[in-house]
Every structure is written in C-alpha cells, then in structure tokens.
Symmetry: none
Subunit: 255 residues, 2 copies
C-alpha cells in the first residue's frame, strides 16, 4: 500500500473546501431565488436547496475529518492515527438521494396521487440503495464489496426504470419550453449516479492505497457537485420556465 | 531569500481580516437590498452577493491558514512548519470569476438566447483561465510560471475581446441613465483583472522571498476587493437605475 503524498493530501483537502463553498453558494442562490418562481414550484426549489445545504454540512465535516487524519508539516505528511470518517458520505446520501428524486418529481407537477406514489416509491428505493451499498464500502475484501454492490444495484436499476419508463410519459406532457430541460435533469441524474458505482468499484481495478483513496474522494466529490448543485440549478431553471408559461408567457415574479 | 518581518506578517494578517469583513458586509448589503430592484435584476444582484459570500468564506480560510503558518511571539516571528495554503485563491476564483461575468451579462438584460450563449462562453473561458494559471502559480521556477501564465492569458484575451467587441453593441442599447455605469462596470472588470497578471509576474521583477509573498498577497487582496465588492455595488446601482427607468421614471421600491 502506497502512502499519501503531500500533493494528494492537498488536492483532496482543496476539493473538499471547494465543494463546501459550491454547495453553500447553491443553497443561498436557490433559497434567495425561490420567490422568483410560481408558488407551485417553490417546494421543488426549496428541497433542491435543502439537498445542497445538507451536502454543505457534510463536506464541512468530511473536510475536518480529512484534516485531522493527516499532519502536513515541513513538507512531510504523516497519518495522525485518527481515522478518516468516510461514513459521512453515506449519512449524507441517505438524506439527500431520496430528496433529489423528490425534487425531480415535484418540478414535474403531476397529479397529487401520482406525486405521492412516485415520491414514496422512488424515495424508498433510493434509501434502500444507500443502505445496501454501505456494508460493501467499509468491507476490506473485494468479494464482500461485490456482494453488497450488487444488492445495492437492484434498487438502482428499479430507479432507472422508474425514471425512464414510469416518468417518460409525464415528461412528454411537460410544456414545450421546459421539456428539454426536464429530460436533461433526468439524464443528469442518471449520468451522475452512474458515476458512483464506477468509483465504488475503484478497488476492483487494482487501484489501492493512497491513490485509490484520492481517486475515490475526488470521484465522489465531482459526482456530488453535478448531482446536487448541477441538478438544483436545472430544477430552478425548469421552475422559472414553467412559471412563465403558466403566467401566459409573461415573466412571473411574485414574492 | 529574505525571511518575513513581524511588520509584513501583521500587514497581510490585517489585510485578510479587512477583506473578510468587506466581502461579508457587501454580501449582506446586496442580499438585503435585492428586493429594492425590479424582479428582472434580482438574479444579477443575488449572484453579486454570492460572489462576495464565496470570497468571504475563502478569506476566512486564508486568514486562518496564514495565522497557522507563522508564530509571532515576543516580537519574534518564526515559521511553524505548516504550509500557507495559497490554493484557496484559485479555488475561490474557479467559482467566482465565471459568476462575475455572469452578473455583468445578467444586469444588461439581453434576450434569453443571447444571455445563455454569453454566460456559457464567458463562464467557460473564465474557468479555463483560472485552471491554466494554477500550475504556474505553484511552480518554483520562472520559465514554468511564464509558460502557464501565457497559456492562461489566451482565454483572458478572449474575455476582453468579448467584453469590448461582443458586448459593445449591447451596451450602446442600455438606457441612457445606466449606460455610463455599465461601461464603468466593464472597465472596472477589465482594470481589476489586469492587476492579477501583474501580481502573478511579481517573481519576474526579482522580488522574491518574504517581500514577494507580501506584495503578492496584498496585490491579490486589493484586486479581489475591487473586482468583487466594487463590481457588486456597481451592479446594484445599475439595477436600481434600470428599475426606475422601466417603472416609468418613478423610483421602484416593492414591499
């Protein structure tokens, strides 16, 4: 197992700080601008900001945990003996991943019955996916990691099926100006989520030790920024366009 | 290489603290006053506040990093062995420089198509400029610094061209009361940005060691205050004037 270099330590350190700033800034943007969309879309925009707020909190914690687990002095890096708490990611996902799917359903403005059935089904599947993935993440051997990874991908496949089959028809009924953006939001969710299993499997590829840690941390960080801050901004843009259409083509700005 | 003096240490220390206060105060001002401009300009004012909020966070971090890297006791200054993390600046710029250009485009209120094409092009060029500048900043030799500095100036020249040629016509179409201010905002962006390459090149001028560090830190700090807090206040003033004109010459103050 290779030991971490000062460059790798600093790269992850700065990536965590960057992500905290990005998530906090996105939260401020979404919560300040929610008054600029029609009331029907404010819950979607509020929840998008909740997701980035929860992520900001966890990135602050993960940044501190990273900083406590290494000591970089006089250009020499050494482990302090305090473990890096990677569980913050799973705790974060357990809260944010169901909410991400809920914000996507809410911005589509389906019938109340459909909204509640979709949010319950997608939200539960997302929570199950995270819970099943965790035992594999902390496993030290590849077979255990593979087993839980496979179990976790069952709810993942169900979510993808729901997004593309179950929500497909509803997407076609979105107003023309917003349809392309809603499709992009779905694709962004699918593509950024597809990134997590790849990172999860980094140890399979023979990448181990400090390089694996660096790749895994940077990979999850990039995926989180796209899936949370990126999706949040898209949800806001969809809400603005749909608000304008529903106000009869006139820009609607209530508050 | 000269070592830092207690005076130089305190000067940079106080400059960082001053800048944190300035950025945080500007954020509070912009977000509190956003309701006093017409809805069409609120996004520009919100984003101006985001830029100063992100900068405030990074100045708090950079202040603490500076403070941890030196120990000043009984009038004697000594390095603690903990490196000063200058990367916070680049992490900050990666987020804020694209946003600065976006706030400038948004306050001009162009057509939706023009707004999205300009924000994407200017935002991407700005991010590229920052990414290309970083390897030069951390380089220890002048030729490497010069190489990356030159590469970084390619997107910089493109941005300047876009601001003066691409946006020139749009500026002429701004309402008369706001036109002068929009030109000033563009000039301030150009002039404050022109300051960064000068600071970047401080090591060329034979300024090295602690004097170089002090000059670089103070230089970037002054440039950041002008480019972020200064531009934010200008964007707010432009928004207020344009709101008044569009409300038929009457001052518009909702809620």
């Amino acid at each position: 197992m290779d030991s971490i270099t000062p460059f790798q330590f600093s790269l992850v350190y700065n990536a965590f700080s960057f992500t905290f700033a990005t998530m906090a800034a996105t939260t401020a943007f979404l919560w300040l601008c929610r008054s600029q969309v029609a009331p029907a879309y404010r819950t979607a925009v509020t929840i998008s900001g909740l997701v980035t707020a929860i992520a900001a909190y966890h990135y602050l914690r993960i940044f501190e945990s990273w900083n406590e687990s290494y000591s970089l002095k006089d250009g020499i890096i050494a482990g302090t003996g305090f473990a890096f708490n990677d569980a913050y990611r799973y705790v974060d996902w357990l809260l944010t991943v169901p909410l991400l799917l809920i914000e996507l359903v809410l911005v589509m403005r389906l019938s109340p019955e459909e909204t509640s059935s979709k949010t319950v089904r997608l939200g539960s599947a997302a929570a199950l996916m995270i819970v099943l993935g965790y035992p594999g993440e902390i496993a030290t051997d590849i077979p255990t990691r593979a087993l839980w990874g496979t179990l976790s991908s069952i709810p993942f496949v169900y979510i993808v099926w729901e997004l593309f089959r179950g929500l497909g028809e509803s997407i076609e009924q979105q107003p023309a100006v917003a349809r392309g953006l809603v499709r992009k939001a779905r694709l962004l969710t699918f593509a950024s989520w597809g990134f997590y299993p790849i990172v999860y499997m980094a140890p399979y590829a023979g990448i181990s030790g400090a390089t694996a840690t660096t790749v895994i941390q940077l990979g999850y960080t990039i995926a989180d920024i796209v899936a949370k801050a990126g999706l949040g901004v898209l949800i806001y843009m969809i809400s603005v366009r749909k608000s304008q259409v529903e106000a009869g083509g006139v820009a609607l700005h209530t508050h």
